[in-house]
Amino acid sequence: MTMQTALALAGLAVALALTSAVVSLLAKRVPATLRLVATPLLGLAGLAALAAGLAALLLGGSIQATLPLGLPWLPWHVRLDALAGFFLLLIGVVTCAVGLYGPAYIRSFEHGPDSLTALGGFSGLFVTGMLMVVLADDAFLFMVAWELMSLSSYFLVAYHHEHGANRRAAFLYLLMAHVGGLMILLGYGVLAAFGTGFSFTELRAAQLPPVWAGVAFTLAFIGFGMKAGLVPLHAWLPAAHPVAPSHISALMSGVMLKVAVYGFIRVVFDLIGEFPWQWGVAVLTIGSVSALYGVLAAMMQSDLKRLLAYSSVENLGIIFIGLGLSLLFLSTGFRALGALAFVAALYHCLNHAVFKGLLFLGAGAILHSTHEHDLDQMGGLLRRMPWTGFFFLVGVLAISALPPFNGFVSEWLTFQAALQSWQLESGVLRSLVPIVSAVLALTGALVAATFVKVYGIAFLGQARSRHVRRARPGPWGMQAGQGWLALLCLLLGAFPTWVIELIDAVPREVLGGGLPQAGVHGWLWLTPVSAQTASYSGPLVVLMLAGIGLTAFWGLNHLWARGAPVRWVRRGDAWDCGFAPPSQRMQYTATSFAQPIRRVFGLLFTIDESVTQQEDGTARHRLKIGDRFWGWLYLPIADAVESAAKRVVRLQSGSVRVYLGWTLATLVGLLWIIT
C-alpha cells in the first residue's frame, strides 16, 4: 500500500460520512433509513478512517493534494501525514463502535417527537467535519471544517430541544465554541501575518518574533483549550455532552475533544515549532488544574452522563500535562524526553477515546433500557444487563488507570517522563514537575474512587427504583459496539510496545525524533528510557494475573473442595451484622458515597446542603453543588456584557434622524481611518 491509497481511503471516509448525511434526508419518509443505511455508512466511514490512519502511521512520510474547491486564490489543501493519521485512527476507532451501536440505539427515537433527519444529517456532517479538520492543510479549510464540526454538534446537543435546560446548554456551547473559533482564527491570522500565505507549509515557514509567537500561542491555547474543555473554560462541556444522544456523547467526548488536541499540537508543535519554557509551564499548570478540578467535580455528580463529562475535563487535563511536559523538555533541549512525554500524551488521547467512548455507550445502554440517568435511582444492573455490566467494568478499570488496562500504560509513561525532570537545569522547573506529578497521582486515585462509586452504585447492590429493577439487556448491536471498545481497552494495555511503535511515527515526524529505546528488548518489554531506568511487561502482567487468579479459583473450588464434608457454596440472606433484612433504601447512594470526599475537598465547590423536617415527621435532605468557576469567571463576564449592553442601549432612541446621524458619523470615521 502506498500513501496514495491511504489518502484515497481517507477521502473515502469523508465521502461515506457525507453520504450518510445525505441519505438521512430520506429518514422523514422512511424512518428505517437512518437505522439501516445512514448509521452503518457512518460505521464504514469509521472503518475507512481507521484503515487510512493505520496505513499512514505504518508507511510514514506524508502526501499532499489540492482540491478543486475553495476560494479562487486559495484552493483547499489536504495532507495526510503521521500526525493526521494518528488522529484519523482515533476518530475511526470510536466511529466504528458508534456505527455498530447506533442502529439499535436510534430505534427508540423512531417513535419519538424529534426529527430523525436532523439526527442522521448532523451526525454525518459532524464526522465529516472532524475528519476534514484533521486532513486540512491550510488555515482556510481548517476553519471551515472546524466550524462544520462545531455547528453540526450544536444541533446534536440541541436534539432534545423540548427541554429548556438542553436549549440553554446548546446555546452556551454555541457561544463558547464561537469565541474559541474566533481565537483560533486570530491565531492563524498572527501566523499568516508573518508568512506568505494561509497554507500550512507557508505558515510553518513563517518567522515570528518571540512576542508575536507568544500571542499566537496564547490565542491557540485559549481557542483549542476552550474546545478541549480545559478549566476554567470548561463550563459548556458538562452541560452540553450529557444532553446529546448517547452515541453522539461518545463521539463528542471521545473524539471531538481530541480534535481540539490535534489542533493544539498542529499549531504549537508543528506550525510554530519553537517555544520558550514558559509555554510548557503554562500548559502544565492549566493541565494540572483541569485534571484535579475535573475529577473532583466528577466525584460530586449523581447524573451518570454529567459525571462522565466532568471526567473528560480531567482526562484532557492529563493529556495537557503530557503536552506541557513535552514542551518543557523540548524547550530546554531534551528532545528524547520531550518525545517520551509527547507519546504519553498521544497514548492517553487514544486511550481516553476508547474508554470514554465505551463508558458513554454503556451509559446510553442504561438509558435505553431504564430511561434513567440518575445514579441514585440505579442499582443491581450487573445482573440485569450482564454484558453491558462486564464491558462497563472494563471501562471503569481502564479509566481508573489500573493495570493491565490501557489507561495505566499512558499514566505510567507520563510518570516516567515526569520522573526524568531531575535532568532539568533550572531548580524552579525541577521542583515544579514533582508537584505536577503529585497532582497527577492524586487525580488518578480520585478517579478510582469516582468510578468505584459509579460502578458500585449503578451495577452492584440492589435496584433503587422499579424501572431499573425491570431493566432488560440491550440488543446485540449495542453490546457489539461496547465489546469492540472493551477489547481495545485490554489490547492497548496488554501490548503497549506495539502501540508505541505505531505512535512513534508521529514524534519522528513532528519533533524529529522518537523513542528508539521503547521496544529494543522485544515486544514483551516496554522500556521507554532504558531497561535500567524502568521496564513494564504488559503481556506478562496479564498472563500472571489471569494465570494465578484462575489457578487459585480452580484449586480452591475443585482440588481443595474434593471430599469436603460440607456444601461448598450456600446461598442465603445477606447477613448485615444480624440487623433487620437490608432493603434497597438502606444502601449507600451516590451522594452518600461521595460525602467523605465532599467533606475533604468541599472548599472548591459551592455546596448548599440542608435537612428540613417535614410535617409528617420525615426529613428531607437537599444538596446542591455548584461550580465555583461560574462565580469567579462566567458571571462577572455576563454581568459586564449586560451592563455594557445597557449603556449601548441608550443609542437606541427610536428616532430615525439620530440613527442617520450615527451612520454618517461611522462613515466619516471609517473614511478617516482609511485615509
Partner: protein
C-alpha cells in the same frame, strides 16, 4: 535487563513469591502476640493466624442471594493482585525478573486494583455497612496513594530508576548517606503504610463496632474460603509494606547473587528487620487510640506533605550538589 532473566532467577522469583504468602500470617501473628504482651495478656500463639486461615478455608462459603458474580470473583482478584504486587518487592535478593516485569508504579497500580475490587465487593450485596466501608476506604486510598507515590518517587529520583532492584542496588553502592529527602520520604511512607494496611490510628483491625469499621466493613458479607483469601491478601499487604520499608529504605543485608549463603543471610536479616518493624507497630497500636474518621485526612495530608517535602528537598538540595 537481560542478566535478570535467567532460569535460576525465575525459579528464585517463584520461591520468593511463595515465601511472601507463607510468611504473611506469621507477621500478623507476631504483631498480635507482641501487642498482647504489651497489654499484659498472654495472647494467642504466633501461629494462630495460620490456623484461622485453615479453618476458614475448610468451611463452606455463604453467599447472599443479592450477590452478583463479581462478589465471588473479587476475592481471587484481590488476592492475586496483592500477591503480584508483593512479588515485585525484593524480599531476599535483588535482581529478580519480577522487578523487571513490574516497577514501583505498577506495584502501586496493582494495589489500587485490589482496593477497587475490595470496595466493589463491599458494595455488591447492597447493605449499608458495605457501602460505608467502600466509601471510606476509597477516600483514604485516594489520599494515601499519592503520598505513597511521592515517597517512592523520592527514592526513584535519587536512583534514576523506578525499578526496585535498581533502587536498592543504587543505595547499596552509594553506602550510607543520611539524606534529608530520605527521612521525609520514610516518614511519609510509614504513615501511608499504617493507613493502607488499616492499622490504628486510622482503622482498627480488631474492631467489633460496625460504625467505625473501614476494612472489616467491606468484608462483613464474606465467609469461608472467600473470607480466607481476603484476610490473607490483607496479611500479604502488611508484609509488603513492611518489606518495602525494611528493604528499600534500609536495604543493608539483602542478598546480592544467587548463592545459598546470600539467601540465608538475606532471609535472616529481613526476618529480623520485619520483627523489629512489627514490634514497633505493636507498640504504636498500644499507645495510640483510633482517630475519628475525619481526622484521617489530616493524617494523610501530613503523609503527602512529608513525601512531597522529601521530593522537593531532593530536587532542590541534592540534585545539583
Amino acid at each position: 535487563m537481560d542478566h535478570y532473566l535467567t532460569l535460576p532467577g525465575w525459579g528464585l522469583a517463584v520461591f520468593q513469591s511463595l515465601l511472601y504468602i507463607a510468611l504473611a500470617p506469621l507477621l500478623v501473628g507476631w504483631v498480635r502476640k507482641v501487642k498482647a504482651r504489651l497489654q499484659n495478656r498472654h495472647g494467642a500463639p504466633v501461629l494462630q493466624a495460620y490456623r484461622d486461615l485453615y479453618k476458614l478455608l475448610a468451611k463452606e462459603a455463604r453467599v447472599a442471594h443479592t450477590a452478583s458474580p463479581l462478589f465471588r470473583a473479587a476475592p481471587y482478584i484481590v488476592f492475586t493482585a496483592t500477591w503480584m504486587a508483593a512479588a515485585t518487592v525484593p524480599l531476599l535478593v535483588v535482581d529478580l525478573p519480577t522487578a523487571a516485569i513490574a516497577d514501583i508504579i505498577v506495584l502501586v497500580g496493582l494495589l489500587a486494583l485490589a482496593r477497587v475490587f475490595l470496595a466493589l465487593a463491599g458494595m455488591d450485596v447492597g447493605t449499608a455497612f458495605g457501602g460505608m466501608g467502600a466509601s471510606r476506604e476509597m477516600m483514604i486510598g485516594a489520599l494515601a496513594e499519592p503520598a505513597m507515590l511521592m515517597a517512592v518517587f523520592t527514592l526513584t529520583m535519587t536512583a534514576h530508576s523506578t525499578n526496585l532492584s535498581s533502587v536498592i542496588d543504587h543505595h547499596l553502592a552509594e553506602g550510607f548517606i543520611l539524606r534529608p529527602s530520605y527521612l521525609f520520604a520514610l516518614g511519609g511512607m510509614v504513615l501511608v503504610a499504617i493507613a493502607e494496611t488499616g492499622r490504628i490510628p486510622v482503622d482498627n483491625p480488631t474492631t467489633h463496632l460496625e460504625l467505625t469499621m473501614i476494612h472489616e466493613a467491606m468484608l462483613l458479607e464474606y465467609s469461608g474460603r472467600h473470607l480466607a483469601l481476603m484476610e490473607w491478601a490483607a496479611q500479604v499487604k502488611l508484609l509488603l509494606y513492611g518489606t518495602l520499608i525494611a528493604n528499600v529504605f534500609l536495604p543493608w543485608g539483602i542478598g546480592r547473587g544467587m548463592s545459598a549463603a546470600a539467601l540465608g543471610v538475606g532471609l535472616a536479616v529481613v526476618l529480623a528487620k520485619l520483627a523489629a518493624l512489627g514490634a514497633g507497630l505493636a507498640v504504636g497500636e498500644t499507645v495510640l487510640a483510633k482517630m475519628r474518621l475525619f481526622r484521617a485526612p489530616a493524617f494523610l495530608n501530613l503523609a503527602l506533605l512529608l513525601s512531597l517535602l522529601g521530593l522537593l528537598s531532593h530536587v532542590i538540595l541534592e540534585v545539583g550538589a
